[in-house]
Symmetry: C2
Subunit: 432 residues, 2 copies
Amino acid sequence: MNRVLARELPEHLGREVVLQGWLSQLRRLRALSFLILRDRSGTAQVLLHDPALIERIAALPHESVLEVRGRVAPRGDGRSGAELQQPAIDVLAAAHEPPPFDLFRPDLDLPLPTLLDYAPLSLRHPRRKAVFEIAGAAAGGFRASLRQEGFVEIHTPKIVAAATEGGANVFPVAYFDKTAYLAQSPQFYKQMMVGVFERVFEIGPVFRAEPHDTPRHLNEYVSLDAEMGFIDDHRTVMAMLQDVIAGMLAAVVSEAGPALALLDARLPDLPSTFPSLHFTEAQKLLAKVRPGGEEPQDLAPADELWLGAWARREFSSDVLFVEGYPAAARPFYTHPDPDRPGYTRGFDLLFRGVELVTGGQRLHRYEDYLQALARRGIDPSPFAGYLQAFRFGMPPHGGFAIGLERFVARLLGLENLREATLFPRDLSRLEP
Amino acid sequence: MNRVLARELPEHLGREVVLQGWLSQLRRLRALSFLILRDRSGTAQVLLHDPALIERIAALPHESVLEVRGRVAPRGDGRSGAELQQPAIDVLAAAHEPPPFDLFRPDLDLPLPTLLDYAPLSLRHPRRKAVFEIAGAAAGGFRASLRQEGFVEIHTPKIVAAATEGGANVFPVAYFDKTAYLAQSPQFYKQMMVGVFERVFEIGPVFRAEPHDTPRHLNEYVSLDAEMGFIDDHRTVMAMLQDVIAGMLAAVVSEAGPALALLDARLPDLPSTFPSLHFTEAQKLLAKVRPGGEEPQDLAPADELWLGAWARREFSSDVLFVEGYPAAARPFYTHPDPDRPGYTRGFDLLFRGVELVTGGQRLHRYEDYLQALARRGIDPSPFAGYLQAFRFGMPPHGGFAIGLERFVARLLGLENLREATLFPRDLSRLEP
């Protein structure tokens, strides 16, 4: 007999079926008991009358794995839905010991370190699991949106020869008799691949050796990267990003609807054209509300929060583009704004007041790269492989990188990125 | 005016269009010249009459990036197809220097080290590029097949605390004040996540510090991993794998058809049920043809090749399952075959005589893990996080891992895995 999922039970009224799942709870009443069985789709109620069977189940630790064969009937307690009656139960694998916290309660009220120490167990809670069903759907939406636009999925190396991109914040790797590094991003590789495929994307891990222990930092996370050639300027990239964000959200809604509902997620308001603000305009707005009124070269987290609230007020929008960041705040490969000396064609997308995406147009001429490196006093020799692409003709291009955990955390209102990471890595955490 | 791709030209006969791409070649005849422009879709021919324009283009190095505006007309040389006439040409980015080899010839006849040293350039060749269009489509087919079967896409950490799985072949990472390691596979994490999602998959990099410099080894590659719970035994996993391989091939055919055609790829014969052989039967067959007639505990590459040829002869099949590997040849978590002491429920899938997939049923009871580790003399303490999942109830489960580069190389008849890797990492290569 084929297995049926808990969620499918009402479709099988009157039939004999098999359920498989985890013993979530046994509710003992005087004359009968209810076994709550959890599987990947949800929970099902199994009505138990036989005292010997009830004792046998009561002796099992929660989380034991069961196979339950029985007849599907309307719930006897007057609630809508179906339950399993007259069950025969096989124990597929008894749990070795009872779990240290109750997985059947509506919420797991645990301090974050406990939640993470017990990740293999705590992730079984429906509300924890739902977060990652949403993440999986979001990654799928990213991919589907870009493939539809002719982007090719690539895989670039995570072990790299030189700590080129971000200076000191790299993890060294003992690579046979050499020292190598973990890639901080696929930036250089995805740009090189614009010369091959014009449009590429990659979903993969990136590694940042930043010694910050904050709710906003992870030392390993999933970056959703895209890069495209033959653009007019950064606005072409922003238009593509807008479609991708909409596609990610659409995939979450269509493929993880029950998870969204369980978490009571408020879906973001995405205007058909995302509002956009130049960096200098953002600074003017902020100058009015900042204590000192100063205009720094970048936006602080508090600035981003203020701008996010402003976008909600002004445009009823949960997203806001800030474009034209100063060159000083951007990497050497950022394309300058020819009309505004000192500013670039780099942008961020704020999502509910937090930077979700960084992107922009890049330089594409070899000579411009040599000049940009020289201006910053950077030795070009470790960049030989990267610069090769530009020596042999590259189109105007740009791209963006979305932090998957950040997208999920902002979508669901999670305060710490670690709650949107299956097995986070930080200053103090390498396990499980 | 919107850009048109080279491949779309015949759909625009009589119209004025814009092409953008790389100057692949200039064919100079007496009274006219042909500019061959390459973009992501293929090449287009542009007819040049104006001597000044011809001189201007002739002065540009190949691979310069151009925008060409002109009228689409039937080719004037009698061949079928369309060309662009009366062009106006803008140089979007002149190449800094001529490429060191010709990208317009049908084949890139370069030694492998040169091909790889010049990867940003050599990958632009249509035959090189096609390999990775196929890889991208194959990864997409893997994902689509599994999502359809209710698998959740996960991302697990690549920095891990202990070199647990494969002993010595791990890369150490300097992780702040600790030593960590690069994950050799997501094996432990995907098993733990069966307790959460029942069915999971991951596409990501794996790292093997094997000091072998052969065409069969890479130190970093892309692993397509899947794991599923509530199986009967390893045969449930093999049936799923069969559907996934068929799905990958179907995606390659539907999404990378032109790339397959360009490379003259012979599509594999996949019987509707893949043939399967027990390890002991394979050994009996091999004993007849092996010089010494001995029966070792594993299959050597030569054995796999012989079995691959045998499967073609006997079943007209390019794939062959070998199941029931000896316990000595398999990791500690492999489920034993209860009916054959010393043998397991582990399998390999050979693809054209090479191991493409390793999989099997795993142990699922906590006590069985403790015994299996003790039997091998392995200290269980570094496995605490992994074993937590089994302490709290895990269903019978199993899974498999497909090497993406290997799939592509065998599909296309590439002799060295490095030809199926954008930027390979090996004993001597960390760049580009």
